[in-house]
Subunit: 582 residues, 2 copies
């Protein structure tokens, strides 16, 4: 505001032109205007947590030197003030800024300049994750940190510490009508005095203060958790940078109450209070996982201010303390199909910050859960014309078919075979698991590769480089079954051809059926048994039936694109061309 | 809506005229319209929890028979339908309706009628409380109950139980966009099935479902608590009727950490964690008090859905888990001067309904607390021109002076003398406490009355009727000091005149000072000592100083009305004429 007023004064003659890239926004400002202030006035997206105190280092910009005819600006280093004390102090603490880079809060305009805002300094920057399977996402965290200096109390003005904090947030950050958690009040006075009247607050959805720390606090984290029937996967994400700083997984301990969903519901029906026991057991596992993630990332669990959960309807119910028995029989009524929003972590006994907010994605129907909602959000089939088929393979496969006109979803009980469970040599997709297999149709000899090693088993150095063959994962099983079929080891019905035992020692009798030995060393034998083949057939049939049903319902014989979720989806080899049955 | 449409049809000729009193609202409705529906269409205030199911009996109305020329209506009993099955069923369960009284939901219009809505059937009726000291209040509870019939689930429609509940609340009660507590989801499915798809829900502020019960639930309660330094007083209120169903008080157990506020703050300063111990101790006492109230009223603690707390800033801080050390020294900064709103009872470990909402009135300044805010709300000095002086006498006296133009407040440390504490024969205002005293200036003989007996001590039958004299309460102390001065037993400085021992055996030596024996029996001697006089002088001086300061600050020598709060205010004898100093 003041900037515009100033430029209307007679001193406008000494205004400096500033052009920001990549936005292309430009404007004239009085000499002496800080670069960050000019950016703000022009609506240029530059991050800042400390509000121009030179503490956070998020507002870094690059001066581009030269005569930029296109922009009509001759940009020179001496058109900015020299390195300030604030910048020197920051560099001492955090390391030297690279050539031409400045803290925009502490640098003032002396003449015309072209300033580039690197993507790391943008609030709404695009995050490109490292792992191949993850999509680009736009960063827009629901919890943000703000540093404020709060006026000291005055005996003659009865305004409370909380009121003065809120006044400072309104004045410095334009955050008005904020609510607050009671624990913020409980911690505020000590934090203000310990921070010498400077505190960092965490604000949820620009509406409510949920955390307070003395002085400057730079990082806040969020957790995303997929609670599956068999496995739980969790990621810890820096809410300021969007970086996934740790990932971990573990078995769902509820498995001791039943391998599949229906046996867990049966357990609850037969054991009153069984739902509470299962809720406790999964929350305990979530807490262990949280501690593991925090340790891996070197983060205090107290810095985790958000947690988001997905799961199938029964898992989601148990995580949130809802008895799932109604999901065990027709008409499969959900307790809620709304998102569970803004719950305090304490209400779920989670070990993260007590005021952290917990969010549960909505379940869609009795057997189509929040995990499916998550998959749809992530793959956005609802945005385009393209007919997409989404499959999240787990103990139950969630399947979604559609485009922006219509979406159909279903769930299909594939069993855990695709996850490598209930397969004789099966394991999760982890280092040492066989994931690629080729079988020579003449000799019936296999070659394979394992996760964690780029060599095939028949290449020189494999024995040294591979840290050991420990089992076979879901995508490996798909491949080995396909290769066994192509090599004629199994027929179209999936029966292992016992007469081949004459041609190869790898075909061995196993009671009344036969197995195919894929790998053997002093440690273990990994063989594909007839039972394994049957489990894969069942799983594949369930998946196929689900997809066919959706296609029939949709009235199509054709899909434009198939996306397969999870670790399974990354590792499975797929045709990238449009897909048709028959 | 439908009523209006119908009355516009050709059948309007058979419309019936209905006039409601006391509102005077009138309208024409088609024959067959239920009386409750007609009332709703006219905006007549008739209560109903069950929504016209004939369950709650709150919508009772009286038919007034006769020719009411003033209203232009001839009202006859046969202008209403005969007693319905619903009414007969209700009478079997709840007792016969008195002559002429009907359930308006189950009675239909056949012709012109005059209907009176008794005050007990009005939602916003005025409540006249039984006890003299309590003001009339308008009933407008923040928690209301609603009965709804919810559609059963259908396998072909994936809407959840919660969604169908909300649809029913929108349809039947016009409550839309409701939020809900997670525990409502946790309890909903069992409640719906147990209630055969009928449930009662509690809705907070028409915004959020906070409770659910199978079938019909008729009552919900709120609690109001004043947490004083020395005593805690609590009332249990039926939120449907406004009736105070139980009241109880007890000592504040924090007294073991220090008698007055400052000694408690000192304790916390010297004992880290002392604030938490005090918070636990006061919350334990609150829970004991809650159980006592609920038992007295024959109510389940789970039916208490709201609790409101006031206290001075230090008590209020400790109730809400806020360390009060900053209030122990200049600049006496409050942590918050906002109301504490919508906190879950579980967050304070209260034994009431887990989703009950807790409300704390706002503190005003470092030493002027939520109890003062409550007194201002109750006495409403801010509404009129009259200059009011409000005094809440306790261990600290809260004093407010002002009118609708300006309000000033302060707190004055009177000590506990006015509460009967730290007085040799002192006690709380309870049965057996001396509350009225007269002293004969000639004989120096006293007569007195005690709480619980209408006779004076010199009247025949006193010994039999009074259950025993146990001590002297605050208002009794004021009277005895005044009478001692009028009788010349103390001089203007408050010194008990030892030479009077020659004239009366009631003046006795007590070390180097003297006492006045007010009462003596086999059980006890109640005497007013010189120390007692000094305590009263200190208390009175503190109160006087506080009031004088406010009057000076306000620039007035005159007040129009004095209101003294609490039990003390009821029992003290005061001039009802406007009051001036000097």
């Amino acid at each position: 505001m003041s900037v515009n007023q100033q430029s209307a004064t007679p001193e406008a003659a000494v205004d400096a032109l500033v052009v920001f890239t990549p936005s292309g926004r430009r404007g004239r400002f009085p000499v002496g205007t800080p670069v960050l202030e000019a950016a703000r006035a022009l609506g240029v997206d530059i991050d800042s947590v400390c509000g121009g105190r030179g503490l956070c280092g998020r507002c870094q910009v690059d001066l581009c030197e030269g005569n930029f005819t296109k922009h009509g600006v001759e940009s020179r280093a001496d058109h900015l003030t020299d390195k300030s004390d604030t910048e020197s102090t920051w560099e001492k603490r955090r390391g030297a800024l690279r050539e031409g880079r400045r803290l925009s809060c502490s640098t003032q305009l002396l003449g015309d300049v072209l300033i580039d805002v690197p993507s790391a300094s943008q609030v709404h920057r695009q995050i490109v994750r490292k792992r191949a399977e993850v999509l680009d996402i736009a960063l827009d965290p629901i919890v943000r940190l703000y540093v404020v200096d709060v006026q000291e109390p005055d005996m003659h003005l009865p305004a409370s510490d909380l009121r003065r904090l809120k006044e400072a947030l309104a004045y410095e950050w334009n955050l008005s009508d904020l609510g607050n958690d009671i624990r913020v009040v409980q911690q505020l006075q000590a934090a203000l005095r310990q921070g010498n009247w400077q505190v960092t607050v965490a604000v949820y959805d620009d509406q409510r203060i949920i955390g307070v720390w003395p002085g400057f606090q730079s990082q806040v984290y969020g957790m995303a958790v997929d609670v599956g029937s068999t496995t739980i996967a969790a990621h810890l994400c820096n809410l300021q940078t969007g970086e996934v700083v740790a990932s971990a997984g573990r078995m769902n301990p509820q498995i001791r109450y039943g391998e599949d969903l229906m046996s867990r519901v049966s357990y609850i029906m037969m054991h009153p209070g069984g739902d509470e026991a299962m809720t406790r057991s999964v929350r305990d596992a979530l807490n262990e996982l949280t501690v593991e993630l925090a340790e891996e990332a070197g983060v205090n669990v107290d810095a985790i201010l958000e947690a988001t959960f997905v799961g199938n309807p029964i898992m989601q119910s148990l995580v949130f303390g809802i008895n799932p028995v109604e999901l065990g029989g027709a008409p499969f009524a959900l307790a809620t199909d709304e998102a569970i929003d803004g719950l305090w972590a304490t209400e779920m006994d989670l070990v993260i910050h007590p005021n952290a907010r917990v969010y549960g994605l909505p379940c869609i129907a009795g057997h189509v859960g929040a995990d499916t909602a998550g998959m749809i959000l992530s793959e956005t089939p609802y945005l385009g014309e393209e007919l997409m088929l989404l499959v999240d393979v787990g103990t139950n496969a969630e399947i979604v078919l559609g485009n922006r006109h219509r979406l159909l979803a279903c769930s299909s009980p594939t069993g855990p075979a695709f996850e490598g469970a209930q397969i004789s040599g099966g394991q999760r997709a982890a280092t040492g698991a066989i994931e690629r297999v080729r079988i020579d149709p003449l000799t019936l000899e296999p070659r394979y590769s394992v996760i964690g090693c780029d060599l095939w088993s028949n290449q020189p150095g494999f024995a040294e480089e591979a840290v050991g063959v420990t089992g076979i994962c879901g995508s490996g099983i798909i491949e080995v079954v396909a290769e066994m079929f192509l090599a004629g080891i199994i027929n179209q019905d999936g029966v292992i051809q016992g007469e081949l035992a004459e041609r190869s020692e790898r075909i061995i009798a196993d009671g009344r059926t036969f197995s195919y030995v894929l790998h053997q060393d002093d440690q273990r034998t990994i063989a594909i048994t007839q039972t394994d083949i049957r489990a894969i057939q069942l799983a594949k049939a369930a998946l196929y039936a689900g997809i066919r049903l959706l296609m029939e319902q949709f009235g199509t014989q054709h899909v434009d694109r198939i996306r397969i979720g999870g670790a399974f989806g990354v590792r499975i080899l797929m045709s990238s061309t449009p897909w048709c049955w028959d």
